[in-house]
């Protein structure tokens, strides 16, 4: 984290840049909106459960978008749902992050051709930070996606705009 190596040996003072502190705090407690859509949500729940233990990365489900930092779009986004997701997204406070989990929310998945009711990719509605491929992605893949997101946050800057 760049925190420990700058520690003074006999005191309790830690020196770091504000940026590092903010980023470290942010990436270590990404509270997730408890929100699941389709079959992928089952895999997301498995990731939260004790075997894979999302909690060790600081990811706890929150029932309200106003307390959430991250939303995992886990499953098929129907057009009807897409309007709701947009509203939920707008209710989340900044900074907010989005993981698109599974083929459905990446690009429409198995419904890409004949799904008259499916949005072909959640990025048509809200901006996505990390895409996790798979149908469904294994919990390991979702964890990898989360680690990628943490990497991204680690390099964020308060002054420079990051992608």
């Amino acid at each position: 984290m760049g925190l420990l190596d700058k520690e003074f040996s006999e005191s309790n003072i830690v020196i770091a840049t504000a940026e590092d502190i903010f980023n470290w705090a942010r990436l270590s407690s990404l509270w997730q909106l408890s929100f699941g859509l389709a079959c992928c949500a089952i895999e997301m729940m498995a990731t939260s459960a004790s075997h894979y233990d999302f909690d060790r990365f600081g990811v706890i489900p929150r029932p309200s978008p106003r307390q959430a930092d991250i939303i995992i779009i886990s499953g098929t986004v129907t057009l009807k749902m897409a309007t709701r997701i947009k509203r939920i997204y707008e209710q989340m406070p900044d900074p907010k992050y989005i993981i698109s989990m599974g083929s459905c929310s990446n690009c429409g998945g198995p419904y890409w051709e004949h799904g008259y009711h499916v949005l072909k990719g959640i990025d048509r509605v809200i901006p996505v930070d990390v895409y996790v491929p798979g149908c469904p992605p294994r919990p390991e893949a979702l964890l990898e996606g989360l680690l990628k997101l943490q990497d991204k946050i680690r390099n964020e800057s308060l002054v420079k705009k990051t992608a």
Binding site: L79, K80, A82, T83, C107, G108, W112, E113, Y116, H117, L119, K120, R124, V125
Partner: protein, 175 residues
């Protein structure tokens, strides 16, 4: 317990020409085709008659028979004129442990029939679904709104000649 032939005979003796045909049990389930405008009376009889006692509507499904005349316009878009849409009622009697399938066909241009919601309560949402996806109107239904698709949706997607819209509320629909 009654077999399909006996059920057909009973219906035939009661409703005469409104009961059209018995399709044999092979390869599908035995099926009785009836007049769509008499479905309510026939259902009522099937449910209340002691020796039939069809107390459960297991499933009500719409089907696009796509048996009309297929017309292609200049852009290769196919529409179907005429022909029928069908509704299947899968009935079961828990009491007498027999079952039967009832079929009605309504004209595609004016798909109207009567609701059986007052006989089997569960038909409520099934009929709304058939309305939502096929546009079949159930007269006397207490609350015939779309059930799955958004209220402002255009068209009936499970019809064979349905065209997927280009946009819905500003969201692009095709891949």
């Amino acid at each position: 317990m009654k077999n399909p032939e006996e059920i057909f005979e009973l219906l035939k003796s009661k409703f005469a020409e409104d009961v059209l045909e018995l399709k044999p049990a092979q390869p599908l389930d035995a099926m009785i085709v009836v007049n769509p405008l008499k479905i309510k009376e026939i259902s009522n009889y099937l449910c209340s008659e002691e020796s039939l006692s069809f107390d459960t509507l297991m499933c009500l499904s719409g089907v696009d028979d796509a048996n009309g005349e297929k017309v292609k316009d200049g852009n290769g878009i196919e529409t179907i004129n005429g022909g029928t849409l069908s509704i299947y009622y899968h009935l079961d009697s828990i009491k007498l442990r027999h079952k039967i399938t009832i079929k009605i066909s309504v004209p595609r241009d004016n798909p109207e029939t009567y609701s059986v919601e007052s006989i089997w309560k569960c038909a409520d949402w099934h009929e709304r679904e058939a309305y939502d996806l096929f546009g079949i109107k159930f007269l006397d239904h207490p609350d015939l709104r779309r059930i799955l698709l958004p209220d402002d949706w255009d068209g009936f997607p499970l019809r064979k000649d349905y065209q997927v819209p280009e946009f819905y509320l500003g969201m692009k629909v095709p891949y």
